[in-house]
Symmetry: C2
Subunit: 324 residues, 2 copies
């Protein structure tokens, strides 16, 4: 009889949470025993123990995660920027003028110094040229194609191999305890949504990110499309992260994980809620399996947020030591 009940519950659980049910068998298997793992497990047990002083009802169990550098690698350049550079090369035959026009000329000749010299304006031009002027459906298709075919320059493997197994386990562990998991990333929402459900178990409607203006256009009678325009609508970074959380989620998270100064305000906003809260940072310390960087990095700089984490006793994950 007991077996039958377990079976019924297992089937119900499966329908609700899919493979997340596995998270209950050996949760956080890739985390070494240490302060970080202990802080996570303690927090989850205290907030999910019915009748306990720190109990949080399931609808309020909102967990937010940065993406670049927190759920997957962000070096040597944000993967979305690698996508943009590859798209410039793919689209070049339709744009003969790019052969002689910066910043495209530098991209096409592999002159990264020239691209960097064109500074932020050049980078934004590359993003605009590769992320707009098509429908949302067409853009999603180019992202999916690129993910299937492109490879990381150092490790020569598909970009989706660079998601962190310990974080996949953490997402599943939280969901198996009634948490709703969200991405809150400076990256483009349209770049993430085509693959986050498959890779992280996070559906499109739980992905918050930066976005371009999108317009409703009746292309043919009864055939509307949404067109991506070359105009930034929202930057979901730094103080934009709590704003994005408010806009998309409308609740204050109780659990937040980031890895850089761009996540500082998201952690501060999470900490500002009443009751027990978890704030975590990934510190990139593993130059062999990944990359080692912090205060001096050109992207994913971890400096002020690190100082604040130490001062306020937030959890800092030492990637090399804490992850198996």
């Amino acid at each position: 009889m007991r077996r039958r009940l377990l079976l019924a519950l297992a089937i119900a659980g499966w329908a609700v949470a899919g493979s997340d049910a596995l998270a209950q068998i050996n949760p956080l298997a890739s985390w070494n025993d240490g302060a970080a793992k202990k802080a996570i497990v303690d927090f989850v047990q205290r907030t999910t123990t019915d009748g306990g002083a720190d109990f949080v009802p399931p609808p309020e169990r909102i967990a937010v995660f940065d993406n670049d550098g927190t759920l997957w690698t962000e070096q040597p350049v944000y993967f979305q920027f690698a996508f943009a550079l590859d798209r410039v090369k793919q689209l070049a035959p339709q744009h003969p003028e790019w052969q002689s026009r910066e910043p495209f000329k530098s991209v096409l000749t592999g002159n990264m110094a020239g691209l960097v010299a064109s500074s932020e304006k050049g980078v934004l031009e590359v993003i605009a040229a590769t992320h707009s002027g098509m429908t949302t459906a067409e853009f999603a298709r180019t992202v999916t194609d690129w993910m299937a075919n492109a490879g990381h320059p150092r490790f020569k493997r598909p970009y989706l191999d660079f998601v962190y197994q310990p974080m996949i386990e953490l997402l599943a562990y939280l969901r198996s305890h009634g948490f709703k998991t969200f991405i809150v990333s400076g990256g483009g929402v349209a770049f993430m949504r085509p693959w986050t459900e498959k890779v992280y178990g996070i559906p499109p409607e739980q992905v918050v990110g930066s976005s371009d203006v999108v317009k409703f256009v009746m292309q043919q009678p009864d055939k509307p499309v949404l067109m991506k325009e070359a105009k930034v609508e929202f930057i979901d970074d730094g103080p934009g992260k709590p704003v994005g959380i408010n806009r998309f989620i409308g609740r204050q998270p109780i659990f937040a994980f980031g890895n850089s100064d761009g996540d500082q305000q998201m952690l501060e906003w999470t900490a500002a809620g009443g009751g027990l809260r978890f704030m975590g940072l990934v510190h990139h310390t593993d130059a062999v399996r990944e990359y080692a960087y912090d205060r001096q990095s050109h992207i994913g700089k971890l400096d002020k947020a690190w100082d604040e984490a130490v001062r306020r006793k937030w959890t800092v994950v030492d990637m090399k030591a804490d992850w198996r």
Copy 2:
């Protein structure tokens, strides 16, 4: 044994969907048998029958609902505007200058003709004065207080009594069949989120609406707040509705319900997806239990969307005949 299994499933269902479990016993009890009810039930059965030609996997079962005039009454004025007028009266002691300044003077003296004469600019000024200059948490509190205390001018009952029971049943019926239900409203997202979970079973993160600019402000050390500013960020109406759906949900709905021309593009965008789709309009035909209006109404005008619904054979609910 069968009873035990049912019990186990009922407990699991309860944990997942709360009182929605009741929807399975007598779904759509307040809908009279007729074309509208039949169209809904047929659609749900065809899209949720595993192995059928029209089967849609649960993650893609996105259902969107307009709020004003679709889930609750919108006459004689949008309830959010009634809230704004009441707030002007409450805040007047702190603003002595309002006694002699339009549009506030008209509001305070009950001179609705004067307010209407001040046109859209005046209305926007009233909204701005009552919806900004406070934190998001403070605003949510004023909404909750008002909902608990204010009453409808004609029916003398709390505004939350004006949600449509047949639509509550429809929301629960859809959820019990694996649909995820969203509000996509021209109303303010900050005005709706404090009560939609309790009233409709729709959590804050599934409410899409119009919004003001919100800023992250460190009010005191380690005590950040989000301040609502007197600046419109997004109008979730007309062509803004598919844009809002893309921004917040990131998937194309398969089911959409509205009641006015402001919902036309949302229905068109839903219809544009591949496969079986449901598009519905509520037609306000019941002057006794509610209000009767359509092509000539000053708010919630149903004209072009109605013509399109007839042409494309979308479902039009006759409130008086279809709702018990």
